[in-house]
């Protein structure tokens, strides 16, 4: 029997911008077992809910993660609105939809870039991030910030966006589309990408479902599961089909995210076509009482915000189950039998967001 050694990976690692520590039990170059040790980013923000007004907590909920920030804020608002049973104005719901799809676009482009970087495809990384700046400009000009948008509030959104501006966003995305096509073509067709990602970190359909994988990881294993189908925000009035791949490997996960870029553009166009006129926020009075689970689809997968309130202005419990947290067990399963050099790519393929996972 070969000797087993444990290689620590991270927390400060050139490939990962975030601290994730893995203990890799190795037999020569093969990973026998991987164990994450997390907690480098654990802040304990769920506890803060006891000190802050429930309306102000949205700013903290947004800062759970800087990449999917908008959707975190939105899901928190949905949870509170669910508890209080607030009828949110439809225009606000549509604006939320547009912004969450823009967030998805920027997050997926970011991820495609990071993946390219982790395989050593530097120019592809640069190209992805160059295109991402267009999306960030759209976000900044409509919400006021590039990354942490701060656009959602309990009972609606904080700014209205004029119909002309929405139209120009769609026109801008149409212009962007051929460039995205070129980019995605490289990911889909390029031999070096195929060879580097094909067959790596395979999760079967059953494994992915039973281990609790969510989002692109689950869809890449052939399960058509997209939380947008439950119809939160304005998604119940928009048409889309979840992108599903069957390979279950890193290449399939890349495909899912790459194709979702176009689904998002399409959803934004539909939302802008259908957006109703009207107010974008409602007056919220009183304090919540009750509990609610709000679920929504982040770029990384399903996020669950649970809110329990007892009629005071501070909530009793706020819990967030982030996609990366539940994607950790599937990641560990996918890493068994890998070579050490492939570990960074496979870790990246679940789109880990440690800031989210550890809160």
């Amino acid at each position: 029997m070969t000797r087993q050694i444990v290689i620590p990976f991270g927390p400060q690692h050139p490939v990962l911008p975030e601290p994730l520590h893995l203990d890799l039990v190795m037999e020569d170059e093969r990973v026998v077992e991987a164990l994450p040790s997390i907690g480098y980013v654990h802040r304990g923000l769920e506890k803060l809910v006891e000190k802050r007004d429930y309306k102000d907590f949205v700013f903290i909920a947004e800062r759970i993660c800087g990449i999917c920030s908008f959707i975190h804020g939105m899901t928190y608002c949905q949870a509170v609105e669910g508890v209080m049973d607030l009828p949110v104005p439809p225009r606000a719901l549509y604006l939320r939809t547009v912004w969450s799809e823009l967030s998805r676009l920027h997050s997926h482009l970011l991820w495609l870039g990071l993946l390219a970087d982790s395989m050593g495809f530097e120019s592809l990384f640069m190209q992805s991030w160059r295109l991402r700046e267009h999306i960030l400009d759209d976000l900044e000009s409509t919400t006021g910030n590039r990354v942490i948008q701060g656009a959602c509030k309990v009972g609606g959104v904080r700014h209205d966006v004029s119909n002309e501006k929405l139209g120009s966003i769609v026109a801008g995305l149409d212009e962007l589309r051929p460039k995205l096509d070129d980019l995605v073509n490289v990911f889909v067709r390029d031999d070096s990408v195929k060879h580097r990602l094909g067959g790596l970190g395979v999760l079967t359909e059953q494994q992915a479902w039973e281990l609790g994988a969510v989002g692109p990881v689950l869809r890449a294993s052939g399960v058509s599961n997209d939380i947008r189908q439950i119809g939160y925000a304005a998604y119940d009035e928009l048409e889309f089909t979840p992108v599903v791949e069957t390979g279950g490997d890193c290449y399939a996960r890349t495909m899912v995210r790459a194709k979702e870029l176009f689904t998002s553009i399409d959803l934004i166009r539909q939302a802008v076509e259908k957006i109703p006129e009207g107010p974008v926020e409602m007056k919220v009075t009183g304090n919540p009482w009750g509990e609610f689970y709000a679920r929504s689809e982040q770029p990384r997968g399903e996020v669950v915000h649970y809110v329990k309130a007892n009629g005071t202005k501070n909530l009793v419990r706020f819990r967030v189950r982030t996609p990366t947290f539940t994607n950790l067990p599937p990641l560990l399963a996918a890493m068994k039998g890998l070579q050490l050099a492939d570990v960074p790519v496979v870790v990246l393929s679940i789109d880990p967001c440690i800031g989210c996972a550890e809160r």
Binding site: S37, H42, G212
Partner: protein, 128 residues
């Protein structure tokens, strides 16, 4: 906008594994295990989803510092949630497949979310 139904069924601790096993047999996915302290007791909620997005919950209620069985024999991936419950709430979970032994999160305050027990003097900042 649609708001989904969220039935929560209260069950007893000894039934937990059997009921969770039923869910697995029905082909459900474990969404999350969340814990909350409500009026001095821990509510632990197991959320599931079937293939058509139907969202259901099972809930057990245990006193602070209690011992609960692990669901990892049923859902392998549940260890992340159960280690978290141990580290943040001070509940003991028996039979976890990957047991971090309290080193999942390293927190400045031990068991920051735990319900205050009458014996423990209130901490300086972290009182409930």
């Amino acid at each position: 906008m649609r708001r989904e139904a969220q039935p929560i069924e209260a069950i007893e601790v000894p039934d937990l594994l059997a009921r969770v096993g039923e869910r697995k047999a029905a082909g459900d996915r474990l969404i999350a295990i969340s814990c909350a302290v409500v009026e001095g007791v821990n509510e632990i909620t197991y959320s599931f989803e079937d293939r058509d997005h139907a969202f259901t919950n099972l809930r057990i209620t245990v006193p602070p510092g209690a011992t609960i069985p692990s669901t990892t024999p049923v859902y392998w991936g549940a260890f992340v949630y159960e280690n978290e419950i141990h580290d943040l709430y001070g509940l003991t979970v028996t039979g976890i497949n990957v047991d971090y032994g309290g080193h999942f999160y390293m927190t400045k305050v031990p068991f920051p979310f735990a319900a205050p027990t009458p014996a423990a003097a209130p901490a300086k900042e972290e009182k409930e």
